[in-house]
């Protein structure tokens, strides 16, 4: 800002001066000002668009998390009532809902049971196996071997997976609840945030910052798995690093190191797809490994590194003393036959540090958008740091456009290491190095994608918008009937249009997301150029839910199921204990009934049974639920071959590229 020099007068922008009367330099300055003003407006328009689309992704993500938590507490309630209500649910549902209780109180006995069921030697290695071979003790060379194999999309044999997981268990068991890390030897330490199955990002970090070593310690701050398609590889690689450098690699548990979250967000699906009949064993040991993961790390008694954050009740003494192994899942306190096996208070503590988010407002409030943990303000941070004589907090848990964000007067740093998390082009990732005796902060940003990194801002924004809109449209389509009903009620004259204000209200109410609907309206619907009113039917013209089941079944039932597709899938996966993808007709009917109870909507028993019969094409009494979910596809009317939504096989295809 400012003038070119004191000798030149700054032209008064308010006075309308005729160009002809100005000197050449005055003209140029005026032109410069004009260009600069228009350019800044250009940037601001881009910025508001970017924020708008970011909100879409973030709202959908958090709504999903909320839903998952609600579903889980619904399961918990059911479990306490299931004893009395045995008749209404089949045995397998009853059994799975009972969870995987720690009925064996003695650690040794539990170990024996676990080993008996998941001993790697139960799975011999075929001579046809083409993937990497590993042997204990693991060495740095083998880590490199794994990296190269994973890069070539080779799968590590289930035998070796179990071997690594069991070794990891042993090491993690000896760790305290709160890791102690020191930079005395190495003079620096690197902290990485959420990776979410993005192997490319982990490899980028190792490329830029070298593999762990005795003088290169790392802290991985949770959320290694889910959402990305190489969660297995990321998790195994981190485990491998832990085995080779057990005192230099620190793993903190994140809210996604939790099977009840993995069921919904893709890790379980990935394991089942990649390991089929061995999946159950792998999942079993993984669950155990999760419960042994430490909950936080403190560096040099100065920096507190934890996945979520803190609350006004966070008590590090309590956290250090608790038996973290009891927490199989964090979505509910551990229970046996309806009774809690750990202190409610202890469980609260862990939820608090793994699910909370910092906010600018002071105080500590319930985290309403996620449904778990708190929003903590700068005062809470100060109080916490003072209480434990610490200097700052490094946490993850939230995606940020640049991969990092300082808040609370720079006392809290959020670090997020999964680039393009929501979609191509949405965000950069970052890791942080703390260097020297003063632990000076150095942030390194990166993006692991060749696709959009060279694209210009508009192009990148274009990809992001397309992805965001596609996700949003799926949600809108899921409420087709409800929306039409409300629109018709509003449109008393049957003109096919309603005013944009009312359109925004209805969308917000039915779709259930707080989004800038007015800004998005022209992207989703057709507007009448004269009145600015919305042709509401136009929203549904671009795609159709192609559903072969539609001919024989009730549309409203189908729509309810489609809208709760993710929840239904979670329930199915929960029931499908052998990972076969098949459940019985009875189980399917029970699942739908469970869903209707959870949603508190009614679904007629006969309609569900008719649906079940129509899906069981070969009449063998079993339903392939993956196929069932695939039946609900959003098909683009203009190019019917291009489909939207999750493609189970394509997502995890090993020989893709």
């Amino acid at each position: 800002m400012g003038c070119a020099g004191s000798a030149i007068r700054y032209p008064n922008s308010r006075a309308v001066q005729k160009f002809e009367t100005m000197s050449a330099i005055e003209r140029t300055i005026k032109a410069a000002l004009l260009i600069q003003r228009w350019y800044r407006r250009y940037r601001a328009r881009l910025e508001i668009r970017r924020r708008c689309y970011w909100t879409i992704f973030q709202s959908i993500e958090y709504a999903g998390e909320q839903d998952q938590i609600r579903l889980y507490s619904f399961f918990t309630d059911l479990m306490t009532h299931i004893a009395c209500d045995k008749s209404s649910f089949s045995n397998s549902i009853a059994n799975s809902l009972r969870g995987r209780p720690r009925i064996l109180a003695e650690i040794e006995e539990e170990e024996r049971e676990l080993w008996k069921e998941t001993n790697p030697n139960l799975i011999p290695i075929e001579s046809t196996y083409q993937g990497p071979h590993i042997h204990l003790p693991l060495t740095a060379d083998q880590v490199t071997l794994l990296i190269n194999s994973f890069r070539k999309r080779k799968l590590l044999h289930a035998h070796y997976v179990l071997t690594l997981l069991h070794e990891a268990r042993k090491i993690l068991q000896s760790k305290p609840n709160i890791n102690v890390a020191s930079t005395t030897l190495s003079r620096h330490i690197t902290i990485c945030g959420d990776l979410h199955g993005k192997l490319d990002d982990l490899l980028t970090i190792f490329y830029k910052n070298s593999l762990p070593a005795s003088d290169n310690p790392y802290i991985f701050n949770g959320d290694f798995v889910d959402r990305g398609v190489q969660s297995v590889e990321v998790f195994l690689l981190l485990i491998a690093c832990l085995l080779v450098w057990p005192d230099r690699v620190f793993l903190n548990r994140g809210n996604h190191e939790d099977f009840s979250v993995n069921i919904r967000y893709g890790f379980i699906k990935e394991i089942m797809y990649k390991y089929t009949r061995h999946a159950t064993r792998i999942i079993q040991v993984t669950e155990d490994v999760y419960s042994w993961l430490p909950l936080a790390t403190i560096i040099d008694n100065k920096v507190f590194v934890v996945h979520g954050g803190v609350t006004d009740r966070t008590d590090l003494k309590k956290i250090s003393r608790m038996d973290r192994h009891q927490l199989i899942t964090i979505l509910q306190p551990p229970m046996i036959d309806g009774k809690m096996t750990c202190d409610q208070e202890e469980w609260d503590q862990v939820v608090g540090i793994l699910w909370s988010d910092p906010r600018p407002q002071p105080g500590c409030h319930t985290n309403s958008i996620r449904g778990g943990g708190s929003f903590f303000g700068p005062d809470v941070t100060e109080a916490f740091l003072q209480r434990y004589q610490l200097e700052r907090i490094i946490r993850s848990h939230e995606c940020k456009p640049d991969g990092f964000e300082f808040t609370h007067g720079d006392r809290v740093l959020t670090i997020f290491s999964a680039s393009n998390y929501y979609a191509e082009g949405t965000n950069k990732a970052a890791y942080v190095k703390l260097v020297g005796t003063n632990l000076v902060t150095q942030i390194v940003m990166y993006v692991s994608s060749s696709h959009t990194s060279n694209a210009e801002i508009q192009q990148r924004q274009g990809y992001v918008e397309q992805s965001a809109l596609r996700e949003l449209k799926q949600l809108i389509y899921a409420s087709h009937l409800l929306l039409i009903e409300k629109f018709h009620m509003e449109d008393t004259e049957q003109s096919g249009k309603i005013c944009i204000g009312r359109w925004c209200d209805i969308m917000k109410e039915v779709v259930g997301l707080q989004l800038p609907w007015r800004l998005l309206c022209p992207k989703i619907a057709k507007l009448d150029p004269l009145s600015g009113n919305v042709y509401y039917e136009s929203i549904f013209q671009e795609y159709t839910i192609q559903n072969k089941l539609a001919e024989q079944n009730e549309p409203s039932l189908l729509e309810t199921l489609y809208r709760s597709k993710d929840t239904l899938e979670t329930i199915f996966r929960f029931i499908d204990t052998d990972g076969s993808g098949l459940i019985s007709m009875q189980e399917f009917t029970d699942a739908c009934q469970l869903l209707s109870k959870h949603l508190k909507t009614s679904m007629h028993q006969e309609e569900i049974q008719d649906l079940a019969k129509s899906i069981d094409i070969n009449k063998d009494g079993f339903i392939d639920f993956n196929e069932f979910l695939e039946a609900f596809r959003l098909v683009d009317n203009d190019s019917p071959s291009r489909r939207s939504g999750n493609h189970v096989c394509g997502l995890f295809c090993q020989d893709e590229r």
């Binding site: 070119a4 940037r43 601001a44 800038p516």
Partner: protein, 157 residues
């Protein structure tokens, strides 16, 4: 605001809500400029400062009620420049009078005159709007001006 149409007020409200990061009905003074620009205004930085904008975060917050009159007032500002004004200004650098100028001189103008751009901002505008430099480093400035005025989403004009 008698002179703002209802639809303008609603649009302003939605943009305001996007910049209201804490959800408390207030926008930081640092973002006032971007907020006004997102609503298609092109105030100078000087104007923004005079109307309550700040350079740093946390110095001042603006409520929606305070924002509306600022928006209404600045919306009336007619002195936003036409293509001809731009052309006239840059003609000074058009030595051969053939509609071209040195890209480096254009960058220099933007970096050192008026309300200066930063290096990354200048790089960006040159990359996205200036088009290809010829072998001697000249660009046609008319398409450049058109691109800047068209904004990032010309189809929405």
């Amino acid at each position: 605001m008698a002179d703002l149409k209802a639809v303008d007020v609603e649009k302003a409200k939605e943009h305001f809500e996007i910049y209201d990061f804490e959800g408390v009905g207030k926008v930081d003074g640092k973002d006032l400029g971007d907020l006004l620009r997102s609503l298609d205004l092109k105030p100078t930085i000087e104007t923004i400062m005079k109307n309550g904008g700040t350079k740093k975060k946390g110095e001042r917050v603006i409520t929606f009620e305070e924002f509306l009159p600022i928006y209404s007032q600045l919306k009336k500002d007619k002195d936003i420049g036409t293509k001809e004004d731009f052309m006239e200004g840059l003609k000074v650098y058009d030595k051969s009078e053939n509609g071209t100028m040195l890209a480096a001189e254009l960058a220099h103008v933007l970096l050192s005159l008026g309300e200066r751009l930063t290096d990354p901002e200048c790089d960006e505008i040159m990359k996205t709007c200036a088009g290809q430099e010829d072998d001697d480093g000249f660009i046609k400035y008319e398409p450049f001006i058109k691109a800047v005025m068209g904004g990032p989403f010309p189809e929405e004009q």
